[in-house]
Symmetry: C2
Subunit: 195 residues, 2 copies
DNA sequence: AAAGCTTGTTACCCTCAGGTAACCGTATGA
DNA sequence: TCATACGGTTACCTGAGGGTAACAAGCTTT
């Protein structure tokens, strides 16, 4: 039925397609047959490119995580002061959510199914994101607590995004990012004042 | 091996045990045999009390959700002004996390596996929690946005908790709740000022 | 102590889905 | 035009695990 494709192209296509399928239906509710069908191909083809379902899934997580990471860190670097970093960071985050939609669902959607290994990967990604944010938090509080609050901010962005994405709402990432950043920044300063 | 138990007691015991097992290993990685073994009993006994694995799992989610809901709403009601409500709410939340540990992981842990139905249930619980929080947010911004921010606050608490619980850290819910509440409250006021 | 309800066990069925062996068809290069 | 490599398919194996039928062992009530 489907056209013959050179191996690397097929691999890419499989990755593209499976992000969507997994994001929509979750890991366990998606069979390799489903993926194959969505790719217009049969199961053994998948196994020519990936060792196992796990392997495919982890590759997807990894790729999605990379895109998130680079989007946020690029944005943060290009900012001058803490406040601006906060703004740029959140705006980049929501921009990523808005146009890498399926990747977001894959990593953080309610349907994101997680066994041992995937959990580790996702946690790592979250932790790295938090790490990128941590410096924004006033340096005069103990680092332990700093990291905890950073995780909280990540959760904040995640919560907002999940709500919007799963409702199917569209949103302007710049506006939303700015609003959430305002909120977060004020919160951060409050923590600072108290120590 | 195990003692005979009257039906209601057995049912309770199964619920107690399975919260732990599911929380620790996630839905799909936990077989009914695992649950049965943990309960010191064999599989068919489980099916005397629950129609299916789904059924059991949903019962757990429901129970956990109820405990969360009542904990938070009780706390919020007993407070006078918005600031106090915020403080009481967050403290109650973290108190719940601290001593209903497994329930938290079940609902919000990384390993929380979610098919169609469970997702709906969990979303409902999150939404209800957000709804309880929404009134705290300044009334002069549009309700749509209000709800979105409320989801963000829920995410904030969730993110902080997940980080701590999954690291196995112990924490004082009162102190942590107060700190997060300070942060949240400042953020909320900032949103208020902007409209 | 026998009937009968309740609790529990053993041993099984059956489906689903991950994974693979063996085979086909077409483009390419000698 | 024949060989061969590569992309793809059909048809199967297999294990895990949800769910159940049939039977055993206790209480309890008369």
């Amino acid at each position: 039925m489907s056209m013959r494709l050179p191996a690397p192209a097929r691999r890419e296509q499989i990755l593209d397609v499976s992000v969507q399928v997994f994001a929509r239906n979750g890991f366990h509710s998606t069979s390799m047959n489903d993926v194959a069908e969505a790719a217009g191909v049969t199961k053994p083809v998948l196994y020519q490119h990936f060792d196992s379902k796990q392997d495919l899934y982890l590759a997807l997580l990894e790729e999605a995580g990379n895109r998130l990471r680079t989007a946020v860190s690029k944005a943060v670097v290009s900012a001058a002061n803490g406040k601006e970093q906060t703004e740029m960071g959140f705006r980049a985050y929501f921009r990523w959510v808005a146009d890498d939609h399926d990747a977001f669902l894959l990593l953080f959607g309610s349907r994101a199914n997680r066994d041992e290994e995937s959990t580790t990967t996702i946690r790592r990604i979250t932790a790295e994101t938090a790490k990128a944010i941590a410096p924004l938090i006033a340096a005069d509080i103990d680092p332990e607590h700093q990291r905890t609050l950073a995780q909280g901010l990540v959760g904040l962005a995640e919560g907002v995004s999940r709500h919007l994405v799963e409702r199917g709402d569209t949103f302007d990432p710049e506006v939303l990012g700015q609003q959430v950043a305002d909120m977060a920044w004020a919160g951060l300063r409050a923590v600072h004042r108290k120590g």
